[in-house]
């Protein structure tokens, strides 16, 4: 990260977005407000059934909203859905490839649908610029020799890479990724992200991502945490981690009594193994260490992870809801 231009006009503007499915007593999306800026990697997180896919389906024009205002790339969802479609790329939760076609035929079909190139019945008859772009992207994504094979024989990772390649043929201002690495092994996931970040960096593409893998959101510019169709948290990964109070230093020394005495003003807690646990908020670990003269045998600093912050926020939301 980051090529984001926060302060510029938002490339995604959502205001009071509500979606209520037919015959459902509750709203799947219940008043979401958010702005995403050009070049941002924006992660949209939440537990199952939180409303992530519903939101992304509305933003990509695949599903009608119940109410609210949505503007993508400056176009209004109600009046200019077609212009929005011209400016976005989508990778759905489930692969949307035609397995009866080769990888290149899938790409050729896509560019014809998007009006980038006229349809020709064979790759050789396509314009040189098309062939060059396919060669470039397939080489970058490691699909080169497989472009003329039937998609039916592709692994999950290859299908995802092909979908990325296909999407980049138009190329989009905003790329929506709905759990793009679901079901992929760690190597395929890492490889796919390497390419996506490169696209974000080099093309300035805005990425709107939903994912279950919290570590994928670590490098996002901002995160929205959604639960029961409402945003619980909106901010940077660092500010999300800062919502957690679980920051502490663990210390121990051969002379524990002396150590405890030196730290008495900081009110240390005694851990199970007898070591001392000193929480810190405003101060830094250095401030704590400056109180110590006795030689240490253990020094560990615990900082909250994004996953802990995520679980904490979701759990707190559940507790608040149960109490009210």
């Amino acid at each position: 990260m980051t090529t984001a231009r926060v302060g510029a006009d938002p490339v995604i503007h959502v205001e009071g977005l509500v979606k209520r499915y037919h015959q459902s007593p509750t709203a799947a999306v219940d008043g979401i407000d958010l702005d995403v800026y050009p070049g941002e990697l924006f992660a949209f997180l939440g537990p199952n059934g939180a409303g992530k896919t519903t939101t992304i389906s509305i933003l990509t024009t695949a599903l009608a909203k119940t109410s609210g205002v949505v503007r993508i790339a400056g176009y209004d969802l109600d009046r200019q859905a077609r212009e929005i479609r011209e400016n976005i790329g989508i990778i759905f939760q489930d692969p949307s490839l035609d397995e009866h076609l080769t990888a290149e035929e899938n790409v050729r079909f896509h560019v014809a649908l998007y009006g980038v190139y006229g349809y020709r019945p064979s790759y050789r008859l396509m314009p040189a610029s098309y062939r060059k772009r396919v060669e470039e992207l397939s080489s970058i994504l490691g699909l080169g020799p497989d472009m003329f094979r039937l998609v039916r024989g592709f692994s999950g990772g290859m299908k995802r890479k092909l979908e990325v390649l296909r999407t980049l043929m138009h190329p989009p201002k905003v790329l929506f990724l709905d759990e793009p690495t679901l079901g992929l092994d760690a190597v395929s996931r890492q490889s796919l992200w390497t390419h996506l970040r490169r696209v974000q960096r080099e093309e300035g593409t805005t990425i709107f991502l939903t994912t279950h893998y919290i570590e994928e959101a670590e490098t996002a510019d901002r995160i929205a945490l959604v639960r029961h169709g409402r945003i619980l948290f909106l901010g940077s990964p660092e500010s999300m981690k800062a919502t957690m109070t679980a920051r502490y230093v663990i210390l121990d020394a051969p002379d524990r009594a002396a150590l405890r005495s030196e730290l008495a003003d900081l009110h240390p807690e005694v851990a199970e193994d007898g070591s001392l646990k000193i929480p810190f908020h405003e101060e830094t670990p250095q401030t704590i260490l400056s109180h110590i003269r006795v030689p240490l045998s253990v020094l560990r600093i615990h900082m909250p992870t994004l996953e802990e912050a995520y679980v904490g926020l979701v759990t707190d939301g559940d507790v608040e809801e149960a109490a009210s």
Binding site: L63, R85, F92, D94, D98, H100, A112, L113, Y119
Partner: protein, 266 residues
């Protein structure tokens, strides 16, 4: 791709080309499918009727059945090809098509065009079976079928769009609806058995079947000016053509509105 009409025409071509490509990729199924229906309905069903009941009709029954089956098969294959769009919803491919910046009309027209090719490649199998069971195949007969084939395909495609619109969220329901609507039509439209003397409820059912007007149209043109015309044909071919085109437009518009509404308003 400068002008919008050129872009939309390109989409129609691409959607159709994809369907045709799939037909050839899946050639074993395509051959089995295109051979099965002519053999089952012209070779076996119409052949049996012709041998046992056809003698006293006063016209060549097998030729009569061949014309009806041509209309029926072309309509049925195009319908089935269009409803594949709903089946592809399960693989997610329909989403890829419907989030692209293109007109829904172009997508459906492309499906109809692709489905028409699927229907047309079934004709050689139909003629082959007809030849095998001794149907007199004349150049005029082939010309008449090919001349009216676009109307069969348009009606079949439009009917497929309507079924997709009504049952668009459920691929299994679309499959069942296609079978449940096409087979009764095959018998009630007069494709295989004469219906000119139908009365009562059957009289009404015959006339509400869209396929009836296609079957009557092709026979009306083929038997025009022959002594058997009055024995076989229900309406003037111009009336059949008008009804077929009007129904096609109604099916297309209603189907597209329902499909898009069902797709977005869940």
């Amino acid at each position: 791709m400068t002008g919008s009409p050129a872009k939309e025409a390109n989409v129609v071509l691409a959607v159709a080309a994809r369907d045709v490509l799939r037909l050839f990729r899946d050639w074993k199924n395509t051959v089995a499918f295109t051979v099965f229906f002519p053999v089952a309905f012209l070779g076996i069903l119409a052949g049996t009727i012709g041998q046992n009941l056809g003698a006293g009709l006063g016209f060549d029954y097998l030729q009569f059945a061949l014309l009806g089956m041509a209309a029926c098969l072309l309509m049925m294959f195009t319908t089935m090809s269009v409803t594949l769009l709903v089946e592809e919803r399960e693989t997610g491919f329909t989403q890829e098509i419907f989030v692209s910046p293109t007109s829904r009309v172009s997508i459906f027209l492309g499906k109809i065009l692709g489905g028409s090719v699927a229907g047309l490649i079934s004709l050689p199998a139909l003629f082959l079976v007809a030849f095998a069971i001794g149907v007199p195949i004349t150049l005029t007969l082939i010309e008449v079928i090919l001349l009216i084939a676009p109307v069969f395909c348009l009606m079949g495609g439009a009917f497929g769009v309507l079924l997709s619109g009504i049952f668009g969220t459920n691929p299994k329901a679309v499959d069942q609806a296609t079978i449940l609507t096409m087979f009764p039509q095959m018998f009630l439209s007069g494709a295989v058995v004469p219906i000119r003397s139908s009365s009562g409820a059957l009289y009404v059912l015959v006339r509400v079947m869209p396929l009836t007007y296609l079957v009557d149209l092709v026979r009306g043109v083929f038997y025009q000016g022959t002594p058997t015309y009055g024995q076989i044909v229900l309406y003037n071919p111009l009336i059949d053509l008008t009804v077929a085109l009007a129904l096609s437009v109604v099916f297309l518009v209603a189907g597209m509105v329902l499909f898009v509404r069902g797709e977005r308003n869940r």
